[in-house]
């Protein structure tokens, strides 16, 4: 590739270094190379070839599906302790940031950009570990601390087509660029992948029987979620949710289990997530998705969506660079930001409430009580930001008990968020209603 490049007139007499940087320039938008050619050679070529070479072999596609399914199951029950992550280094909330970086991997086609997502994910983990080590007066984090967290984050992030992404980077990222630190961290994610493929009871510090039981439980749980729309009265008013159900099945088609959980939680420790309260009481599985599940599902669908670009085009700032912005943009950006934050926080809070709360009983868990503080804070923010139509609607919902889909109509700054908003809006409202009613019940 480079020979032809070098032979071309504008490059005659260029040094190795200049040629090398020409392959990368596009990223930095600089034009310091001879001939002012912003070629981004690798990026250009690989973007063109992407559809031909990415996950183009049936075996790769199969591996992708298997790995995705395995991680979907594992993420239902895996805990940091299973990977020997010391308590002082556990920080699941902040790890979400690292997961987000990794999940971006499918938004890019160029090997360099995909690799960046992995490196950013590793950087976030390292920074978090470093902070934790400072707090606990320990050494800076080494591989003993780093690798388990990377594995955990990878499982929780479960980016679709991870296997193909890693192969693609290995094959098409210029070898002279995949060196030193980048190579180290890339090797770590390969090693995380390998670990996940071979995961068994022993590698999660549990006995094999327990492990199998948990895997079965996770499978049933995902299936229960996927195939039983009738049982989900919550969602009946929301056709969108039902439409999307069959997609969940993809990963689980192979298993054939009943929709009801008999008593699968017995083998599970106290630490299983509170969503599982549902199954303890023998009720059908209702809604057990977490925010990140929803987000991931949405992202996967978006990726399969041919209109992907069109969807994102509606959000002018998404691809903007700092230099493109004018002072006039600040106000609208700030508004968008506030909307986004309020919506996200509210959604997260909403998802924290177990499905049982539909039957609004008092005297429940601490989380439910904590919810009672929520509407006030949301309203405060809302009052500070009356311009934002979307948010005032949310607050209307809280007071008016008018339950359905306004959220869908609002102009949110992020369609991705909106997608999840659709899905979880009912839960959110339920939680808010309950919160409002809480004092009476108590």
């Amino acid at each position: 590739m480079e020979g032809a490049f070098r032979a071309h007139t504008p490059w005659a007499g260029s040094s190795e270094e200049e040629l090398e940087s020409a392959g990368e320039d596009m990223i930095f938008g600089s034009d310091y190379s001879v001939g002012h050619t912003n070629l981004g050679l690798e990026k250009y070529v690989m973007t063109k070839l992407f559809n031909r070479v990415f996950a183009s072999v049936p075996e790769d596609v199969k591996s992708d599906e298997e790995l995705f399914e395995k991680m979907s199951l594992l993420q239902q029950f895996i805990r940091p302790e299973n990977l020997d992550i010391k308590p002082e280094y556990q920080n699941e909330t902040s790890w979400l940031l690292a997961q987000k970086e990794l999940q971006k991997i499918n938004m890019f086609k160029a090997p360099r950009d995909k690799l960046s997502c992995i490196l950013n994910c590793c950087k976030v983990i390292n920074n978090l570990l470093l902070n934790a080590s400072i707090v606990s007066n320990d050494n800076p984090p080494g591989a003993d601390e780093f690798l388990p967290v990377l594995i955990y984050v990878t499982i929780k992030a479960n980016p679709p087509q991870l296997h193909s992404n890693l192969l693609y980077i290995q094959r098409y990222r210029r070898q002279t660029r995949l060196v030193s630190e980048a190579q180290y961290f890339f090797t770590n994610i390969l090693s995380a992948e390998s670990f996940i493929w071979n995961i068994d009871g022993e590698s999660l510090s549990m006995n094999e029987l327990d492990f199998q039981r948990k895997m079965d439980w996770a499978r049933e749980r995902l299936l229960g979620l996927s195939v039983d729309p009738e049982k989900n009265q919550d969602n009946q008013a929301n056709p969108d949710v039902q439409e999307r159900r069959p997609q969940n099945l993809k990963a689980n088609r192979s298993s054939d289990v009943s929709l009801y959980l008999k008593d699968p939680v017995q083998g599970l420790g106290q630490d299983s997530r509170r969503d599982s309260d549902v199954s303890v009481s023998g009720k059908p599985v209702e809604r057990v998705q977490s925010i990140s599940d929803l987000e991931k599902k949405g992202a996967t669908e978006l990726l399969n969506d041919d209109d992907l670009n069109r969807k994102f085009q509606e959000y002018p700032y998404l691809f903007a660079r700092a230099g493109d912005l004018t002072i006039a943009d600040v106000e609208s950006l700030l508004n968008s930001y506030k909307q986004l934050v309020v919506r996200y926080v509210a959604l997260a809070q909403g998802k924290g409430v177990s499905p049982e709360t539909t039957h609004a009983q008092s005297g429940q868990t601490a989380t439910d009580l904590a919810v009672s503080e929520e509407p006030e804070s949301v309203n405060n923010v809302v009052n500070n930001n009356n311009k934002s139509e979307g948010i005032s609607k949310t607050s209307d919902d809280v007071t008016s008990e008018n339950h359905h889909s306004e959220v869908v109509d609002t102009e949110t700054p992020e369609q991705m968020t909106q997608k999840t908003a659709v899905d979880s809006s009912d839960d959110l409202k339920v939680s808010m209603d309950e919160a409002v009613h809480q004092p009476e019940n108590a």
Partner: protein
């Protein structure tokens, strides 16, 4: 990141059980000298150290590996193309020495055949709790063609010796293999002959 370090660069993997103090050891080595020059260490899992051996500048890339038993099987992913391995055990804990011997066996099978090995008998400050006879360890090391160093990350002893021994032996091997390695020219843009098998198609990592 991304740019090749100057001089000849070697990859060194650190292998040792989770409790033996690998991280402290390498931090002690890398930071003691470069404390002022280097920006604050962000992490200790990947570190580089420049040193000059017999007038030749070399760069050691030090790859830490997770030492917990459950990650043992991942070892080859890290040491496959390593030039050197530093095996660390804790003199107060005989299990950690057993693991060293396990790694040595694997390295003989799976790593490059002229990999340079060294063993660090760490935590020598806790000599009163010693569980492994140094003499036994030394003769073991000799039997596998490695050198053994008694180190203490806490007291900072023996550490420089380990790494400079590794560096020296790496350089000798390199000289032997390329037969009269030309001394590095001060010109920029020099091409470094790399013995990493980078040209072959990347191996599939699993299944």
């Amino acid at each position: 990141m991304g740019s090749r370090p100057p001089g000849i660069s070697f990859k060194l993997v650190l292998l040792g059980d989770g409790r033996v103090g690998k991280t402290s050891l390498v931090l002690r080595y890398v930071n003691n000298v470069f404390l002022d020059k280097q920006e604050a260490t962000v992490q200790a899992s990947y570190l580089t150290k420049r040193l000059v051996v017999e007038g030749v500048p070399i760069t050691l890339s030090i790859w830490d590996t997770a030492g917990q038993e459950k990650f043992h099987a991942l070892g080859p992913i890290y040491y496959r193309d390593a030039d050197a391995a530093l095996l660390v055990y804790d003199i107060t804990d005989s299990d950690t020495f057993l693991r060293v011997t396990k790694w040595v066996k694997e390295l003989k099978q799976m790593a490059s055949k002229d990999i340079v090995m060294a063993i660090a008998a760490n935590k020598s400050d806790l000599v009163r709790l010693k569980n492994i006879d140094t003499q036994d360890a030394v003769s073991y090391a000799e039997s596998i063609g490695a050198s053994l160093f008694v180190t203490s990350a806490k007291a900072g002893t023996g550490i420089d010796n380990v790494f400079s021994d590794i560096a020296k032996r790496l350089l000798e091997k390199r000289k032997g293999s390329t037969d009269g390695l030309s001394p590095p020219q001060p010109k920029k843009g020099i091409l470094i002959v790399d013995d990493e098998p980078e040209k072959e198609p990347p191996p599939k990592c699993c299944s």
